[in-house]
């Protein structure tokens, strides 16, 4: 035991707690039970250790020791690769796939959460050494709150208005509102689709959103989340029964066509609204200087 033992133990503990708090298993059912969780808690523990021991190294004037944080960065990029690979592997087995952009979004958040853990452990240990355990606890809690805030981005309901529209056929063409979805030839398939299908129109609230919801990855994420939550009326080898999202080229609205097993309009609206907006899909044309000059 020396003067650094308790601060380091405290930092590691608060860092690991931060990782556990950020590790939620929800309707997306990812990470899966136990084994997936153990991997991430263990990696969180390693991250917390790195953050905690960096402080004594700095205080001992051992500045080169801080370079091992670069090792940490490499390590957590590896976490991102691991998540991406696993999810891409199993994506082919999903009835409605997640899509590359959604997988990338999940992988990014796994990496960034480890950095938040390093930050929490670093702050915890630093405050403990400079002041005392009480200040360290307060600092740690503030870090936990920051982590929680950074963890949740915006959702679809913040950027669009969602409206239920029953799908209909015009000849062999399937439409949601006036948005063409696909061509279904067989009358019996058409009956099935009218019986089980539901349509929603997502109307963008502003110009930035038009590009975001047009993003193919974002659309696939909506379809995947809805299928996970409400079930999906399809099987392998029935490509005609596939949920699809198409876009109205005139005004950027998108028509969502789904085949859920639970046909509850309000629930479906809620679920579409709760789909996360993917970081990779966000576009901000209104922040562009050229655009704003033109508008003026």
């Amino acid at each position: 035991m020396n003067e650094y033992t308790m601060p380091i133990v405290f930092g590691v503990a608060i860092g690991t707690i931060a990782r556990i708090l950020m590790l939620r298993t929800d309707y997306r059912q990812y990470p899966t039970y136990l084994h997936g969780k153990i991997i991430h808690v263990a990696l969180g523990f390693i991250a917390a250790s790195l953050g905690a021991v960096a402080v004594p190294a700095l205080m001992e004037m051992n500045f080169t020791a801080v370079t091992f944080l670069t090792v940490a960065a490499t390590q957590f990029r590896e976490v991102r690769n691991m998540e991406r690979n696993t999810l891409t592997e199993i994506d082919g087995d999903e009835l409605v796939s997640r899509g590359k952009a959604y997988i990338e979004g999940i992988a990014i958040s796994f990496e960034s959460r480890n950095y938040l853990v390093i930050l929490t452990a670093f702050v915890g240990t630093l405050f403990y050494l400079i002041w005392d355990i009480y200040v360290a606890v307060i600092g740690g809690i503030i870090c936990l709150i920051i982590s929680k805030v950074l963890q949740s981005g915006s959702t679809i309901k913040d950027i669009v208005d969602i409206e239920y529209v029953a799908p209909h056929f015009d000849g062999a063409g399937l439409y949601v509102d006036n948005i063409y979805i696909m061509n279904i030839g067989l009358p019996e398939r058409q009956e099935e689709i009218l019986k089980y299908g539901m349509g929603f129109v997502l109307k963008p609230k502003n110009i930035n959103v038009v590009n975001t919801i047009a993003h193919l990855g974002q659309r696939q994420a909506i379809l995947h989340d809805v299928s996970v939550s409400l079930g999906v009326f399809r099987d392998s080898g029935t490509p005609a029964l596939v949920p699809l999202i198409k876009r109205d080229l005139d005004d950027g609205r998108i028509g969502v066509f789904i085949l859920p097993q639970i046909r509850d309009k309000e629930k479906a609206k809620e679920i579409i609204g709760a789909v996360p907006v993917l970081e990779t899909a966000i576009r901000m044309p209104s922040r562009s200087d050229t655009h704003n000059e033109e508008v003026k």
């Binding site: 000849g171 062999a172 696909m182 061509n183 279904i184 030839g185 067989l186 009358p187 019996e188 398939r189 080898g237 490509p239 005609a240």
Partner: protein, 61 residues
Amino acid sequence: MVIEKSVLAIITTNKEKVSGGAPIFICHDFDELQKYAANLEAILDGIAHALSDEVFIIVKH
């Protein structure tokens, strides 16, 4: 180059309207055409699209 979509079969009641590389199934009436299309759709894992009442195609997406 990967071909993403291809016409796997053509089902028709009017053989004047079709020719070409994909297998062509000629039926007597619309009912028979529908049965053919439904079976081929299931067998080939494709989607039966209607080009008109006389011509259906099975497409792999």
